[in-house]
């Protein structure tokens, strides 16, 4: 960070006290040595005072609430209710019991049939997970339309497929996940950087924090999951993986010795032609 302009978001978070301690210490040192940085911070503080004075919380929060209210109304339900009430009161036909039953019906409709589009689209992943149990190894899910499917070792996949990698460790507390594709490219999946700890969760299925998109590499993408009781030497394993590189379609390569691993799980996806 020393030779670059400190990004605005970093200064904003510094002012809001929402930076981690290490970054705060770094920034304090920089601020002490850099007049321009001090000026930028002062300008931000002054700007904050101006903004809150120009657009005070009392008026703006009301305006925001009103806009939020307008957006969250459900026109479908409201219009149905309006029609129902119109029928009830203009024609004077309905008894109190009937009125109650209409209200109950509308409530039932609102709670069970009418659901926002986002809710209707949510697929159920949990059933897939339960069905597959907790055998140690890699689990790879693929988005398929509006649902998720779990892939088998050897499944066919193609460019643009969106995958979510999960794993179950057999009690070993360190793990390394990476993939080698048909063009020889090696992608480290866990940890996200070679200098980070290989610690993993145990006792349950754990999904990596990011999903993964297959690119146009030909032939295959093979995922390796190496587990160990102790920290795995990521550099060693990555060097070996990169050496193997192009053309290494085999899923029998043993990476455990390269990085002090104990067990290895392999999962290959064959690329669609």
């Amino acid at each position: 960070m020393n030779n670059r302009r400190v990004p605005d978001i970093t200064l904003e978070r510094f002012l809001l006290d929402e930076l981690d301690e290490k970054r705060v210490r770094e920034l304090r040192d920089m601020i002490a040595a850099d007049t321009v940085l001090r000026l930028r911070l002062e300008e931000m503080k002054e700007s904050s005072r101006d903004i809150l004075s120009l657009y005070p919380e009392e008026t703006m929060s009301l305006r925001i609430r009103e806009k939020a209210f307008r957006k969250t109304r459900r026109p479908l339900i409201r219009s149905k209710l309006k029609n129902v009430f119109y029928a009830l009161f203009s024609k004077r036909l309905i008894s109190a019991a009937a009125f109650a039953s209409v209200i109950a019906a509308v409530t039932f409709y609102a709670l069970t049939i009418y659901r926002p589009a986002e809710m209707r689209r949510q697929p159920e992943v949990a059933d897939v997970t339960r069905a597959k149990g907790l055998a140690p190894g890699l689990y790879i899910y693929r988005k398929k339309g509006d649902s998720i499917e779990i892939l088998e070792n050897g499944s066919v996949a193609g460019e643009g497929d969106l995958l979510q990698i999960g794993y179950v460790s057999a009690g070993l507390e360190h793990g390394l996940i990476f993939s080698i594709d048909g063009s020889g490219a090696v992608t480290l999946q866990h940890p996200d950087r070679a200098d980070r700890s290989t610690a993993i969760g145990t006792g349950k299925k754990i999904l990596l924090p990011t999903s993964y998109e297959l690119d146009d590499a030909p032939g295959f993408e093979t995922f390796y999951f190496i587990t160990s009781r102790k920290e795995i030497d990521v550099d060693m394993v990555m060097k070996k993986a990169q050496k193997i590189g192009r053309g290494s379609a085999s899923d029998t390569i043993d990476f455990t010795r390269a990085g002090s691993g104990d067990r290895q799980y392999v999962f290959t996806l064959n690329k669609r032609k």
Binding site: R4, R5, Y55, R63, K143
Partner: protein, 162 residues
Amino acid sequence: MDIDIEDYYRKYAPMVLRRCRFLLREEESALDAMQEVFVNLIRSSGRLSGSYPSSLLYRMATNVCLNMIRSEKRRPAGPIDDVLFAIASNERFEERFEARDFLDRIFGREAPSTREIAVMHFIDRLTHEEIAEEMGMSVSGIRKRLSVLRKRALEIKELKDE
């Protein structure tokens, strides 16, 4: 999680408005965008758990501004704004990653926006590590997204190389 909008406004509105002013360069639009951010915050307050609100609000502000630029077909003056306009207008970015966002929602995470990453990289000039921190993604994930962007979005690449 219920939020106290007054508290949030008092604390974060200046940051949000500064972000909107920077991206939109026009006070009235920036003010609209800022309000929109807080409206979105009220409507999706569940997303706030477990992270610093400043990151989420900054990203929400970026997204709201990009949407405004795209919907209003407004091209502000200046070389940076050309890049911003290209990012905002290029729907292919979102089409490409809409499905990925959907996956992330399923697994209970933030929906990372490729446009946000593009703005952080091309406009804000954040490093991969800084973007990863802001987005809550891995550095390798950010690299991958940016490499796909470079590969597929020629206009952005050309603007960046200028």
